[in-house]
């Protein structure tokens, strides 16, 4: 497929969105309040849907418009709302105490992972005048940061948000690399369904008070 150049308007906007998405992933990693996780994730998804709209304009692609609208509706609005109502409010979650490292340690690790993402993706992988060369390392860093917050956080809701951030990172990469390919919209819809199922799982198990109560820190039975 033809790739957006780095200096075109669309390229600059996409690059900017990528940076914002990375910063929001950092913000989420640096936060300790369940409320904030949800807000940052929602904001990240709104920026992602803007990025998808930018690519949709650049390629005149109806499918990408659908993807942008879906991202805004599902990830930007529906998932944050539902997560807030069902998880944060219902389960009365406030501060997330169950972290395996301190905040500063995880932020330093996050910085290292971002540098690592640039190291892996930059050389020879992508033609350097395309916008993909700038955005794909960003999206890789977002994937790594999401995984990191899944690792350092022990609460199921926090892990869920971490996975959602990983998914945003994958989609940022997808719209920059393979935007005009078929399948991308279907994959987006499918992952939204998966996200919905995961929220249901956490919700149901949280209500039975068997999982959420013992925020994984106390789940020590299965080891070795």
């Amino acid at each position: 497929m033809q790739s957006l150049s780095q200096t075109s308007t669309a390229g600059v906007l996409l690059d900017l969105s990528g940076v914002l998405i990375l910063l929001l992933a950092f913000a989420c990693l640096a936060s300790k309040l369940f409320d904030r996780y949800v807000v940052y994730y929602g904001a990240q998804s709104v920026v992602l849907s803007f990025a998808a709209a930018v690519v949709a304009v650049a390629f005149h692609s109806v499918e990408l418009w659908i993807l942008a609208a879906l991202t805004l509706a599902v990830k930007g609005i529906a998932i944050p709302l539902v997560a807030r109502r069902l998880l944060v409010t219902r389960l009365a979650l406030k501060r997330d105490a169950a972290m395996s490292t301190g905040l500063s340690t995880s932020l330093i690790a996050g910085g290292a992972l971002t540098a690592f993402a640039y190291l892996v993706i930059r050389p020879a992988l992508l033609p350097y005048d395309t916008v993909a060369a700038a955005v794909v390392p960003l999206s890789t860093a977002v994937i790594l940061l999401g995984s990191l917050s899944m690792v350092v956080r022990r609460h199921t809701v926090a892990q869920l948000i971490g996975w959602l951030i990983v998914e945003n990172g994958v989609f940022l990469g997808a719209i920059t690399l393979v935007a005009t390919f078929p399948f991308i919209v279907e994959a987006g819809i499918f992952l939204d369904i998966v996200a919905g199922v995961l929220i249901m799982v956490v919700f149901v198990s949280g209500l039975t008070r068997q999982l959420a109560e013992a925020s994984a820190a106390e789940l020590r039975e299965l080891r070795g």
Binding site: L126, T156, L177, L198, L222, G224
Partner: protein, 491 residues
């Protein structure tokens, strides 16, 4: 032929339908077994029809079955049949004793059928995007089986399983996207361009750098489902907490589906990059898994966890065999897949019987199986020696093939290391299982309603063990042809 392929993927849903129609455990399990038998029959028929002909393909490449797919279809359908027959006695006994409620029984069969059906469908698609979708969907379906018993432990295991596997499969999606990107020069504008056969035939035109990354991400991502170390952490918990027939499905069917996806990516990488890089990746993950699996077997505790760590080890052996490559390596890998599936199905199903009788899953609390229940004890003992690679069972033959492939490919260090690790794994595993079968049994009450239920429960173990024995002594000409055709597809 298309109808046959559709029937394979849909027939396991018979069990789900029965469960939704509110059937009792026995009826639903029989419906499930009948569906699985149809799937197995159809996949055998499909293999016969495919013999030496062009692969079945249709619907813009969304449907694609070649010999390799057919071989895995046969394996997964066979395991589904064994596990479904095993469910008849196991789930009914749990229903009778009140350990599983009516709703849980319905849930079990609804998701068992769905799980099997999604796995079979994943083996029938040529579209790599749809492959990702089906593998992830099968994760969600099987998570319900892991958490079925509803205790804190099983819910924890289910959550761990679903979140780690979802993360893994999302990484596999990133790998798939990089693979598509590496084909930028091919202008993959249509669905046909995203299919495995198209990408394989154009593998030389794929950009090498993105392809390397794509292969690595696919191995990490789908490797999470396979249980390759260090992504294996969900595996022992999920296998230990699921009801035994569901553990058999996870270990003997699901892991193979993940390995199937890796094999598809391997074929493209081998052709596009040469074999050095894929070999290094597979040997690293493979040996790491064997070491981790063997070391964790030393701990003596829950016997289902022991079998689960043995699965990690076995999947590592298969990854190493794929890494060795060549006709011999691939032949060994596929044969090992089939043998391991049979042996693990037998082990997990018979361990379900042990768990029902002794009301524990701790190996230390089980003794005197041979004296108390000779059939279960004998099967458990023979199956453990089979899975450890003792002659005259099938795994001996396939592991021998793999070691020979290692020597054929050059450096003798790797096959010698493999042999040493196999020996290392033998001791703790055999020590635990022999401890379970010997000694004096405590007084036991039969959990089954009548003798017929006992016979139905034992049937799949004996069938599986007999098949393992046959495969150790003689490889049927038909199977040999299928294996050779499969290797030709990916080689």
């Amino acid at each position: 032929m298309t109808a046959l392929a559709v029937l394979i993927a849909l027939s396991p849903l018979a069990g789900s339908a029965a469960a939704i129609a509110d059937a009792r455990a026995r009826v639903a399990a029989v419906a499930q077994a009948a569906g699985a038998a149809v799937a197995l029959g159809c996949s055998l028929a499909l293999l016969v029809i495919l013999d030496g002909r062009a692969p079945l393909s249709g619907w813009d490449g969304f449907l694609y079955v070649d010999s390799l797919g057919g071989f895995f279809l046969m394996t997964v359908a066979g395991v589904t049949l064994l596990a479904a027959v095993g469910s008849i006695g196991y789930i009914a006994a749990q229903e009778d004793s009140g350990e599983l409620g009516r709703f849980q029984v319905r849930l079990y069969f609804a998701f068992f059928g769905l799980f099997a059906s999604l796995m079979l469908a994943a083996l029938e698609t040529g579209n790599l995007g749809l492959l990702f979708v089906l593998v992830e969907a099968s994760t969600l379906a099987s998570a319900a089986l892991v958490g079925l018993e509803g205790r804190a432990r099983s819910l924890e295991a289910a959550w761990k399983y679903v979140i780690i596997s979802s993360l893994g499969v999302t990484i596999a999606l990133a790998g798939t996207l990089f693979l598509f990107y590496s084909g930028s020069a091919l202008h993959l504008g249509s669905n046909l361009g995203l299919t495995w056969p198209y990408l394989l035939t154009h593998a030389h035109a794929l950009a090498p750098q993105p392809l390397r990354l794509a292969f690595l991400l696919a191995v990490v991502g789908y490797g999470t489902k396979v249980g390759l170390a260090p992504m294996h952490t969900w595996l022992p918990d999920a296998h230990a907490e699921a009801p035994s027939p569901a553990s058999a499905m996870l270990s003997a069917a699901l892991l193979n589906v993940g390995m199937y996806a890796i094999i598809r990516f391997l074929a493209i990488a081998n052709r596009g990059l040469g074999s050095t890089y894929p070999r290094a990746v597979l040997l690293s993950f493979g040996f790491a898994s064997i070491v981790i699996g063997a070391l964790f077997m030393v701990r003596r505790g829950n016997f289902k966890r022991l079998f689960a760590y043995s699965s990690v080890e076995q999947m590592g052996i298969i990854a190493v065999a794929l890494g060795f490559g060549g006709t011999l390596g691939l032949y060994g890998a596929l044969l090992q897949t089939l043998n391991h599936a049979l042996a693990k199905a037998v082990l997990f199903l018979s361990s379900g019987d042990v768990a029902l009788r002794y009301r524990t899953r701790e190996a230390g609390e089980v003794s005197g199986l041979l004296a108390a229940v000779p059939v279960t004890g004998g099967v458990l003992l023979l199956a453990s020696f089979a899975v450890l690679g003792s002659p005259p069972f099938g795994l001996f033959l396939s592991e021998l093939t793999i070691v020979r492939a290692g020597f054929a490919h050059g450096s003798p260090v790797f096959p010698l290391f493999l042999l040493a690790l196999l020996g290392l794994a033998f001791v703790p595993f055999a020590r635990t299982t022999t401890g379970m079968v010997t000694g004096n049994p405590p007084p036991l009450a039969s959990p089954y309603r009548d003798r017929a239920a006992v016979a139905v429960t034992a049937a799949p173990w004996i069938l599986g063990l007999a098949a393992l024995l046959v495969l150790g002594l003689w490889i049927p000409a038909g199977l040999d042809t299928v294996l050779r055709h499969s290797i030709a597809v990916i080689g």
